[in-house]
Amino acid sequence: MTKRQTRVRTGTWWLWLMAAIWVVALYLNFIYTPDAKYLLSSERIFYVHMGSATAMTFVYGITFVASIGYLWRRRLAWDRWAAASAEVGTLLTTMVLVSGIIWGRTAWGSWWTWDPTITTTLILWVLFLGYLLLRDWTDDRERRARYASVLAIVAFFLVPLDYYAVYFLKSIHPAVITTHGVNLAPSMVLAMLVSMVAFMFLAAAWILIRLRLLAAQDYVQEIQDRVRTPLDSM
């Protein structure tokens, strides 16, 4: 009898790559870019804001695709992608909100405005806190995956509707990237782009670690289910 060995991926190079990009991004953010004309140094939080917002968009995109994938293919791997990305997305949304609030205070003088973009982000945050609660409070593994997928898909359709519902309020959120191109100094554009990449890498690293942990968790659950006799569980 030959025993096959299950291989565990042990590489950590992607974590170190992420760290390197982050140090570069921080350098560009603080040292390389000049102060903004009116906002002075306070505009440096913009790189954090923009980076986490971009990563958030991608990460929630993963949640949506993975949710459809789960309902279609019914493999728990899809659901793990949805779970990991939703968790990381919620964290990134928190970053977007916190950095936005601080920036709003220095730039506009008020902590909070009921602008469509900001309000929609807040709703998104509440929505995904509810999503994580739903995951946590549904005990059956398969049912949890199903319910979470349904919620994520409905949520995806809600977000643009929310945006347009709030749109009738006066919008004061600055549009940095318009249809006429990017509205920033070149060095700031570089810092912004590197910051975006850094946040994407951070999100990716987070998701990958969470994915592996969730897979381990599911496997432990599977063993536990198997150790119990079928009659017990019926």
Binding site: R4, V8, T12, L15, A19, L26, I209
Partner: protein, 69 residues
């Protein structure tokens, strides 16, 4: 920008880099424990493989009809 402000920015840079390194340390440790767990589970998986096929969809199959609501 005055040299003093420049210096402040350097301090900020170092402070935030230190913060990042700290958080990265946590991330790295989390990853290490995940890998440790994975390795132990891999051993377990190898032991179980001889008993039955662990891959494939979960669920009790057609032999145990069950209503999920």
């Amino acid at each position: 920008m005055s040299p003093l402000e420049r210096q402040d920015l350097w301090y900020l840079f170092f402070a935030y880099t230190a913060l990042f390194v700290l958080m990265f340390g946590f991330l790295y440790r989390m990853f290490q424990s995940t890998r440790h767990l994975e390795q132990e589970l891999a051993l377990l998986r190898d032991e179980y493989r001889d008993e039955e096929d662990v891959d494939g969809p979960r669920g009790r199959g057609a032999g145990h009809p069950d209503v999920t609501v």
